[in-house]
Point group: D2
Chain length 343, copies 4
């Protein structure tokens, strides 16, 4: 019998919050005991998200009204910057999985450069472990604060990190074109995210340089043991969920496929497709899986590496639960085995 | 510890077959031991449905190559008419949940009228139990052959059956306008189902009278104790999953809401919304839930009843598993508790 | 050679404003000389709507900065209520085609009932001509102020007005279920209109009673010579453009088809399909056409009448230009002959 | 007064055929006198494409039943390979604009390599002029046979040709990632193009190397005066119309923008956006426009060039009419001035 850990979700009214609730509903080792949403305090989760109305959940409340004494772990899905203010005042015994961008960068100077202000909780910034489970598993197990990765950042890293570590690709001139579902922009009402604006077409966004690039710089440089600066161009895809990274690298396709296959051999959620096959975002929708494909080009030495995942699941809330499982001593895959929803 | 029942899926290469596999993957009481698909025999399920490639599944084979001796229950997702030929030759000890239209109608004459040929397995037609779980639970528990309902037929019945049984609406002049996701048409390559033909618009289909009307006639007439002939008009909705039934009835909104609330009070999958609220298909996507709403009109005595479900889950494969659970003595909700996927 | 009329568009930054510009770009008898958009004053139309950037257009300005002395006709696409304030102060020689809801209702009491405040320009309300061209052609020719219809209201009226006038249907118990594209909600940033909220599903909206019902009441009662109260339920369709009205009436299908065919025999934009065929919104997208179909039901005396149009074109801006053509003495179809865009 | 040229469309039942009819309906210098579609001979165009039912068009017939004596120009929208057989037997005085892939490649050996069989009309292959209007305008004016470009091929060329000609980019290592609407796959019923398979996601296709690459090789090598081999990866986008090319080049962003601006300065259909802005496929939908943007990367010397067009219009049928205008001595833009349809 699994012992049940008490969970609070701060910022539960966004899409990542709802996704956490969806996943925890099937999780035998977690129980939601508090849900906060400042502007929607007093409402039920079923009012805010009718797809969750069959669940027996605590009412949405303000953060200051949460009794953290009975809580084991907090998922923090608050807006950027506000997170820093909130997290630093949480009880010290609480484990925290943050989904915002606030603790992803290690270097305060880098943080300030990309986000435009000094960090409000620099001590916790130092302590935070970067949440890409497959690459920081051991550190995450012992961490108090894990910083969930950007969803785009996760996708690109799954394609590239084993290659940089193995030294099988040229670390210069790496190009990442990415196609990203709309839900990544969140539930805030923005003209640019209206159905009429988004559907039936595509466009690049986040130009000239998207903030998730900072995560690439930090992590890829570690892997390569030298500075790596990728060229990253995200595109908005008229679909709610899913990210596809099309990554252009220079190397040998066979070596690349072997390096990925070996790195992910025992990973429960990473599937490396047979050489020459490419993934589709539809085939990971709603799941914690990431599909990776390698396809050589007719131009010698040029290889395409494709990675597909669901931005709300493996790219965010599913990843967060995977990390929480490790932090709580639960089996890593617990609650995350749902197959993708297709069609 | 749950004992695991051995499952065969005949016709696994269609969408309902894939949906069965998706759901059974999380089902602690079922294990897939055989998957058939005549034209795709020899392929793996992961080749045919890459979203299922992480699962350890038997290879697709021809029906004649299945060893039924180790099978407890068969889901039959074969094309119409072929089902009759196959099912009548299955070993007598096998429990069968059929997803086709072949055993839904009780009266051979009605079957012939709607489907254009005599029934090939009239003895089994007599034996079959209609698979709308909430209304045939006891019969299903003891049945050998359960006939899954049409997905449209299920949606309309959830809205109307308690009202006809309670006698709170006029059984004449009932109008059902329905909006149906594209996946209901299956995976067969048809010009009319191409993305370019279906997306970004709607149209009524199945005119002048859709075959699922036969199920309405049969079941509603039983409930009302007299002939009931509804006016049913399905429309194609540019979405993959989901059916919304907008049902127009004459009666008192309060009595109607009360009759539905009472009928479904203890149903695990049927949610009756508060009076005046309407459901959305997005809020049941990928789940076995059905949301029902009642909204009075400003025209006195006219009431709208709305029902929303996922055609592949509650309307087909989820319903099939719900029935199989009953037939196998398992908890009815086992494997079906996944929350809807939104957005 | 066509003489060119000078056109101002007030409120050009909404979808109906952009649609007017799109259509006028091909119109040999109209030239845009002023475009207003208070919050976007100073921007070019190409910045606000990049699909129009190839056009040579005046910059967006504030209404008070327009020199109306050189203007022949104003299209008014302003928000509800504000229109009344603006329109009453426009120079008296200006012809005005209003696209808002402000002048559709003739009775000040009805206006107040549906819109919650007294009308600010009651004199002009009396003078305004209802803009459903096919039914008010003569009045429109001589009008100073024409009130464009609601897009839903137009769709329902095309299906029903000839039938009520000809007396071939029962005026009681008429049911209109409508499926409406997202662009009808405009470009304002609303959570409910985000791609993630709208795509891949449907739901009824505007419950319990939608404001366009007021137009139905007013116009249908005129046609029938008695009070007519329809039951109207709009549904949000995950598509940008298009409205389908599925109208349930009691009558004889042959008489109904004949009445529609006769009424629209010489109409350039209304196409009555052969008996038994139904329209699709995709087949009128981006055009000023309305397709109408009649399909009998198996229930004797029950008939479905379907009407499909593009809410932004025939339902709004195309209709407005059709009316403006009449008011300016131009051929009614001028600038409106574009075929629908499919797929 | 424009004299009207008599037009025949061979293969009118595909999407490019329907698009030709849509555009010619507004073209004052062309009149459709024959429409062929072998399998649909005897049907009206309105039956096959209800969005065109308001037009007065000749009935679909078989090619052998066309009287070419009254025809000035033929648009040939037949399947690959069949085109060669048909075109070589057409009367010699006929002007021909071919939309298939059959005459795009100049070198019979290249053709055989990419298409797997010897060319059936090698003499005409020699004579054919490549139909990218902006780059072959003079040759097209005098041509008898113009070979329409691939829609992907057109998009990539608009982004790159001026740059290769001006020598402002490195001709090695050019990477083209492309996002292509579904209608490019045509109206043939294929499982992979079903709404359920395509919507709500993306995937690369045409791997490892797409046939349109052959056009890139041929044309870019001409421009650069040496062999150029781009790396081209198309992706399927869940939208009906539109192609976005994201092109990665090495060079100076200022020089690149200047070269494009200069090359397209007087082009009526090519819009070069201000430096740093990127196009969206939605903003060219249904039109003959191509929008091009240039955005520098933070990695020095790396530049993204984006091009967006509508595959059925500028990428195929609109281009064909633009070429036909030149061949017939008509103004090049005649019939092609429609603004894009947004939203």
């Amino acid at each position: 019998m699994v012992s049940t850990h008490k969970i609070a979700i701060l910022g539960a009214s966004g899409y990542t919050g709802a996704e956490l609730v969806r996943l925890i509903a099937l999780h035998p080792g977690m129980e939601v005991v508090a849900l906060t949403a400042d502007r929607k305090a007093g409402q039920s989760m079923g009012q805010v998200y009718p797809h969750l109305r069959h669940l027996d959940l605590p009412q949405l409340c303000r953060i200051e009204d949460v009794d953290f004494s009975g809580v084991d772990l907090v998922f923090c899905a608050l807006p950027h910057a506000m997170t820093q203010e909130i997290v630093k005042d949480l009880p010290e015994n609480l484990k925290i999985v943050d989904i915002s961008a606030d603790f992803r960068l290690e270097d305060p100077a880098e943080y300030e450069k990309w986000y435009g202000h000094v960090h409000y909780a620099p001590e916790m910034q130092k302590e935070a472990v970067y949440g890409l489970t497959e690459f920081y598993r051991d550190e995450i197990k012992g961490a108090r604060l894990v910083a969930g990765t950007g969803c785009n950042a996760a996708t690109g890293q799954f394609a590239l990190r084993p290659l940089l570590r193995a030294g099988v690709i040229d670390p210069d001139g790496i190009i990442i074109d990415m196609f990203c579902g709309v839900s990544g922009a969140g539930r805030a009402a923005k003209e640019a995210m209206l159905h009429s604006e988004v559907s039936e077409g595509t466009n690049p966004y986040g130009l000239p340089v998207h903030r998730h690039t900072a995560e690439f710089d930090q992590e890829f440089s570690k892997d390569a043991g030298r500075e790596v600066k990728v060229i990253f161009t995200p595109h908005l895809m008229p679909a709610n969920r899913g990210i596809l990274a099309t990554v252009h690298v220079k190397g040998d396709a066979g070596e690349i496929h072997a390096a990925l296959s070996q790195a992910y051999e025992n990973e429960p959620f990473i599937v490396v497709l047979p050489m020459g096959e490419a993934p589709a975002t539809r085939h990971v929708r709603g799941s914690n899986f990431c599909h990776i494909g390698v396809v050589a080009d007719r131009v010698d030495g040029h290889v395409r590496v494709f990675a597909a995942l669901d931005n709300l699941t493996k790219g965010s809330s599913g990843q967060a639960i995977q990390n929480a499982n490790l932090m709580l001593g639960l089996p890593e895959t617990m609650g995350l085995e749902q197959a993708p929803l297709f069609p």
